[in-house]
Amino acid sequence: MDTDLSGLRKFVAPEFVFGPGSSRLAGQYADNLGIRKVLLVTDKHLMECEWPSRVMDSLAQAGVGYTVFHDVSPNPRDNEVMDGAALFRENDCDALVAVGGGSPMDCAKGIGIVITNNRHVLSFEGADNVPRPGPPLICIPATSGSAADISQFCIITDTRRKVKIAIVSKAMVPDVSLVDPVLTTTMSKALTAHTGLDALTHAIEAYVSNASSPVTDLHALEAIRLVRKHLVTTIHEPDNLDARMGMSLASTFAGLAFSNAILGAVHAMAHSLGGKLDLPHGQCNALLLDFVMDYNFDAAPEKYFKIGKFLDAELNDEMSYEEKKHATLEAVRALKRETGVTGSLADLGVSAEDLKLLTEHALKDPCMLTNPKSPLTADIESIYEKAR
């Protein structure tokens, strides 16, 4: 690139409808977009809930046809995307509706660009590498964490290389997102915790990102505050709609922040773990978060202190840097403990032999580019070792 644009900041957000019952607008939006038949992408687990069928009813009422595709794994795979695209073509669909967590939504994003560009999904790997946007995409999140309904990210597992590839493009931003907190009430305690900490990680990484901006900071900090306020409640009171709304909002804010400020080492390392060992993304993030913060801390101490404050850490001006850092990290660890996300990478089956390759992949992940510090191989390996 000839011109240095690194000082510029951009903010892209999809049209979204927030609030209980917004998912019922699926049919209306599909109709407004001129859609005749959608491929409804969800997952097997979610099919046991009423949410996909509610969306189907809404589509049917608006006279929009649909074909359901639910062969999507927790970390969506390249072959699943290609299968979905084939089903899309076979059934003459003209748009996508994703109902679920990050996996179905990312899968739907992948299907969309495969359809319009007629290429394999892995060929879009990287940033700004999507020539044509996919067909209209309506996202209806059933978790409050991934913010795939807001972000320009799409993470797909390359099953042959065993790595997660990131497709980052403004063309991956959905046309409409219907953020309906009611859908998150059926999440299990563990899923609520993992996705909630994922949202927290999004917010923290976006806030300390070297591409952050006042606009993204605003969203990031508010997301952190909301997670601290509502996450534990949602775990203990799954049907507490106020808390669920708080977490949905937190996830949305975090999404707006990280989609534009991008992420950091936690995500780079979590993607590497997820690709190699097929581990739950939110949990990986949560296990790595405080260790990465520890490593990054001196690159943005003031920002980290602010994060600490938003996480209810007792910080004052009389405290030394180390004291404040300790209090901040302790606030994160306290939240992890309260949400029941303890344990280590070793508990998830990560062995010492895995670390070299995990580090290699993590360093290549695009999220590493906006980490406040540029880590070396040894740094990353050390963080993995500590988290293990």
Binding site: M1, D4, L5, S6, L8, R9, K10, V12, T116, G126, A127, D128, V130, P131, R132, P133, P136, Q152, V168, S169, K170, A171, V173, D175, N210, A211, N260, A261, I262, P366, L369, T370
Partner: protein, 429 residues
């Protein structure tokens, strides 16, 4: 990669991540729509280059909603003027009233031939077209797709073929008339021969026979002279008279045969077909042929089994054939054996006349049945026939549904066969 390059590369990647890449824009379908629109326009342009015309017609009110192709060439009217007009307007008056029915047809596809013309133009020659009306199913309401093809060339070709066949018919009629005339002329000629040759010849022969009789019975006995010269002259006169009689007979035979053949060829020969007993017919033929062998050295043998099946035949004509074959055999076989045979093969009776005479060269096996072909023209001693006997035989046998042919080896003799279908088909013997 050098560190600096890596840094540059990372910087570029980071900018792209942040949405500052070259193509980074919020999702927009406009470029895609533009591309599709361009595709559609190119396609329409392509459609407008074809020789056919496609009309989209509202099936309810019959108005032209859209068109592509060669509308202007076919109707003589610019497309924009036709748009929104009633489709029926470009059709001939007598077809217009049926358009409503056509457009509300239940059938999936209709094809018909008609003509297109501009409703606004005067004096334009209509374009003959073949139109196919289809009713595609879709959510765009009831629309008929009319595809029209210019069939001027086909029509022209059809006209030409029609004209050619008419011409041909006229020529055939003319030729038939000419042939009829020729036939008539031939008949007249035959009748002329009949009257102008046969009648006088009959008189000549009648009178010469009377003269000979009178010469032999009364004039010569009353001549009393010992002059050898007179006697010699008297003998000479008698011999000359005999030559006149013989040649006269031959001439009369020739005329008769010619007339006969002419009748056969004109299919005017009358046959009196009846169920015939072959054995009796063959007996009659042999009785009639008895005289042939009076002066002959050849032996005449017959191998005719009793109880031959009946045939449908004109006995007199068949006897004529057998006599002809026997007389030919006698002519060419002065010594040796002449055999008349009859047998049954399958659905046919086979009659055969075999001789051990001079035979016929293979080249002439077919030609002997042509008019005026004679074998043994070099054998001056052989009594000349008319050369019409076998062609006449062939006509007669054919009229009976049979075939006639010869098998012969020069120097060893000839076998003339002819077949007759047995009454009632196959009969076992």
């Amino acid at each position: 990669m050098k560190r600096r390059d890596r840094e540059n590369d990372s910087g570029e990647q980071r900018q792209k991540l942040m949405g500052l890449g070259n193509r980074s824009m919020g999702k927009s379908y406009y470029p895609e729509l533009q591309r599709r629109l361009h595709e559609l326009e190119s396609f329409r342009d392509l459609l407008n280059r074809i020789n056919d015309t496609i009309f989209i017609v509202d099936a309810h009110n019959g108005l032209i909603l859209d068109m592509a192709g060669a509308a202007e060439l076919m109707t003589g009217c610019p497309s924009h003027q036709l748009m929104g007009q009633a489709f029926s307007e470009i059709l001939p008056h007598h077809v217009r009233k049926h358009v409503t029915n056509l457009l509300s047809s239940e059938r999936a596809t209709l094809t018909m031939e008609t003509e297109f013309n501009c409703p606004m133009c005067e004096g334009r020659v209509p374009t003959p077209v073949e139109i196919t009306i289809q009713f595609p199913e879709g959510d765009e309401g009831d629309r008929a797709v009319v595809v029209a093809r210019d069939i001027s060339e086909r029509k022209q070709a059809e006209e030409e073929i029609k004209r050619y066949s008419e011409e041909l018919e006229i020529r055939v009629k003319q030729r038939t008339r000419e042939l009829d005339q020729a036939n008539e002329a031939k008949s007249e000629f035959m009748s002329f021969i009949s009257h102008e040759l046969r009648t006088p010849m009959t008189s000549v022969l009648g009178f010469i026979r009377i003269m000979r009789k009178k010469l032999v019975k009364s004039i010569y006995p009353s001549v009393q002279t010992d002059s050898p010269k007179v006697r010699r002259n008297m003998d000479q006169v008698l011999q000359n008279v005999d030559v006149i009689i013989a040649e006269g007979d031959r001439l009369l035979q020739l005329v008769n045969d010619l007339l006969d053949l002419a009748k056969h060829e004109a299919s005017k020969m009358e046959y009196h077909m009846r169920i015939s007993d072959l054995n009796r017919m063959l007996d009659r033929a042999m009785a009639a042929a008895a005289g042939f062998f009076d002066d002959s050295e050849a032996d005449f043998v017959q191998e005719i089994p009793p109880g031959l099946p009946p045939v449908t035949a004109d006995d007199d004509r068949l006897i004529q054939v057998i006599l002809n074959l026997l007389s030919n055999a006698e002519k060419f076989c002065k010594e040796g054996t002449i055999t008349l045979r009859a047998s049954v093969e399958g659905a046919y009776a086979v009659i055969c006349v075999e001789d051990t005479g001079i035979g016929i060269p293979p080249a002439l096996h077919k030609a002997v049945f042509d008019k005026f072909t004679q074998v043994g023209e070099n054998h001056q001693k052989i009594k000349q026939g008319t050369g019409l006997g076998l062609p006449i035989c062939q006509h007669i046998v054919a009229a009976h549904g049979g075939k006639i042919w010869v098998e012969s080896t020069p120097g060893a003799g000839s076998k003339f066969f002819f077949t007759l279908p047995i009454l009632g088909g196959r009969t076992e013997i």
